[in-house]
């Protein structure tokens, strides 16, 4: 017994001594100044969801980033450095997002983080990223709060948001169909934010809101809501329902044949959510930032590159989620190249206010990264189901396109307060 006691005490003692030594040299503060060797790769952490409600969109998002990274590497990398990437599943859960961000920054030594579909996850990641000063690209979460009250100096938002899409959709629809509007709103923050923007616009353009039907996230049976809609008989239904819920809603509306009984506006339609669904599920009018059928130079080449890189993917053509993932990554790499350094503040300054030409983005208007909200101001398209598709992938007919200044989200401009440069930790990735 005494022997074991001695051993234990000895062990404790030597551990304490070892602890003392490490305490002096040890990792009290993570050493963020890495070697400056130009052959060291630039590491990008991919934080897209691979499971949970947005797993499907997350996969598309990630393919976009990977294509941009592959193309940059094929041209010799950025600043002569190769680009490496690490992906960890954020599970569409904010708490996991926090942890994944911590791991990518500390353990994987990623200098940049990219990827989000869920606004909850995007916000969780950006809080961590801001604490370390790591640039984070929110590729596909379209909650207005992301570039409003939850904006951060290190975060850049690449998708159009609920307010942008509402602006594009509401006036056109009220003019065409009449002013009595019912709302179907997903009962969480994105839904509410979008609904608020919609309400304000409906009133501004002289319509009336008859009622708002809140549907919980995870709703699979919409018949109660649909019955209410039938009983009320509005001209226009403004739906802010996302992800799997929206798919279930579309299926049930199509089965009831309610798709053409009233004018449905679905704020935003993500391509992975509708790809492969029957045409009658795709009723109503909805917003998007990009479509592979746009008649613009470069689009066909882009689609061909996608098909060459992902020949086995079930989604045969790229959609808006892929597009945002790709564009965000490409522009980040370009900004690093322009800055001539991976210093985070220098790259942030390169991104802020940067104007991207319409040709380079394959849209109808030039886009600009707003220096005050960090949201990309871009062309917003309104689309509907294509009655005369060329092939099974040709699902949309583009109805209108709005210039960025016409659909600007004014509210977030007032709500967003970016941290100062001084309050943002600086480092070289």
């Amino acid at each position: 017994m005494s022997n074991s006691k001695f051993t234990r005490r000895g062990l404790l003692g030597s551990a304490a001594a070892a602890g003392g030594v490490v305490a002096v040299y040890g990792p009290w503060k993570h050493n963020r100044v890495h070697a400056q060797a130009s052959d060291r790769p630039i590491r990008i952490g991919i934080t897209s969801d691979a499971s949970g409600q947005y797993a499907n969109s997350g996969a598309s998002d990630r393919r976009g980033m990977l294509m941009a990274i592959a193309e940059a590497n094929a041209e010799g990398g950025v600043l002569g450095r190769k680009i490496e990437h690490v992906h960890i599943d954020t599970e569409t859960i904010p708490a996991t997002g926090s942890r994944v961000a911590e791991r990518l920054i500390n353990r994987e030594e990623c200098g940049f983080l990219i990827g989000a579909v869920s606004s909850g996850v995007a916000n969780a990641i950006s809080q961590v990223a801001q604490r370390y000063g790591v640039i984070y690209l929110n590729t596909n979460s379209s909650s207005p709060t992301e570039s409003g009250e939850n904006c951060h100096r290190v975060k850049f938002v690449w998708d159009g948001n609920g307010a942008n899409f509402s602006k594009a959709a509401i006036r056109n629809s009220l003019d065409a169909y009449g002013g009595n509007v019912m709302m179907v709103t997903n009962d969480y923050v994105w839904g509410h934010d979008t609904a608020r923007a919609t309400k304000a616009l409906v009133e501004q353009y002289g319509g009336t809101i008859m009622d708002e039907i809140l549907v919980p996230q995870g709703t699979r049976d919409f018949s109660a809501a649909l019955l209410k809609l039938q009983q009320a008989g509005p001209n226009v239904v403004a739906a802010a329902v996302g992800g799997d819920d929206q798919i279930a809603l579309r299926q049930q509306v199509a089965q009831l044949g309610m798709g053409d009984k009233m004018a449905w506006i679905n704020n935003q339609q993500d391509w992975p959510d509708v790809y492969g669904l029957p045409a009658d599920n795709l009723f109503g009018v909805f917003g998007t930032t990009w479509y592979h059928g746009l008649d613009l130079p470069g689009v066909q080449d882009f689609v061909a590159r996608y098909q060459a890189m992902y020949p086995d993917t079930s989604m045969k053509v790229p959609g808006n989620v892929f597009y945002n993932g790709y564009m965000a990554t490409r522009e980040l790499l370009a900004a690093i190249e322009r800055a001539g350094t991976t210093n985070n503040i220098a790259v942030i300054k390169e991104l802020e206010g940067h104007v991207m030409s319409a040709e380079s983005r394959m849209q109808h208007h030039d886009a600009m990264i707003d220096p005050n909200t960090h949201q990309v101001q871009q062309t917003i398209y309104l689309a509907t189901a294509n009655p005369e598709p060329r092939d099974s992938d040709d699902m949309y007919r583009i109805l209108t396109q709005s210039a960025p200044e016409d659909v600007r989200d004014e509210a977030s401009l007032g709500a967003c307060q970016l941290e100062s440069y001084d309050d943002t930790p600086t480092f070289d990735a």
């Binding site: 353990r107 969780a124 919980p216």
Partner: protein
Amino acid sequence: MPMITLSDIPARGGSPFTPAMGVFLLALSTAPFWLPAVGLYQYLGIEVAIWLIFALGFNLLFGYIGLHSFGHGAYLGIGAYAFGLFQQEIAVSLWGGLLAAISAATIAGGIVAAFISHRRGIYYALMTIAFGQIFWFCAIKLHGVTGGEDGLLGIPRPDFVLGPIRFSLADNTSLYWFSAVLLALVAIGLWRLVNAPFGRVLQAIRQNETRARFVGYDVWRIKWLTFTLSAAFAGLAGGLFSMAQESAYPDVMSLHQSGLIVMMILVGGGLVSFWGPVLGVILYFVARDVIGGITETWLLWFGLMFVIMVMSRPEGIAGLIHVARTRLGHAPAGRSAPKPTEV
């Protein structure tokens, strides 16, 4: 070999400073120095410490008294929201926030326990699920209070203030130390508790509730107390969790997450050892981090591992270690074991 249970491993009263506790405290106090070296990182240490507080408290209910709650994530979530709301609405204070977190979870747990403490078995489990779902649902619905689906954001990490001592918990290392000290206190306290007569009563109730009642124990009150106590620990863990994340989210309250903590405890061997939850939580978090970094289908592998474990060694890792030690002759099996056999 028949399955061993917590009662087969003799408990010792008296000093909590067993070899296992020594190893645990040593690992806890040196973690920041070796975590990076083994490929992990500080934040993971914080999360593990927090979930250990949760799991150890939960095992009082799950392992010792044998009441299977599948809705315990709710109390973790309530603690997290209470901490955050205290910071945002009342005052930025560490102790105030933690007190609020513990109180809120205790009150919620106490109310639920009053509804379910006369139940047993599957109906007990089902009622815990129902109440857990109600709390989870409310957390999502009450936007004005909880921030709904997006969570309560921007929760500060208040400074540690104790008399003249004051230091910031803003960086992960200092928050780790704070959580680790609390965890050590919780572990020692719980160890004393389960090895005191109270712990024996809990096990008596698990083995035969009716018999315990006949012997004269107020079974209802003890069940109520155990549930409430474990909710209080969950609340403490929740308060710390909201500090770690600087936000509070409803996801931890979901059935899925409440099922995962049960899974961790079982894999670790919470049914056969005080230290089971510790092993289970560490294995889960490290496996998730390491396998999750390699493959997107990590849940497939973890699920398979879990299924095989339940099929072959339902006593979990702690049971496995116990068996290995018995075979190697370090500790004879059975009640007459002269030496401590905690792992």
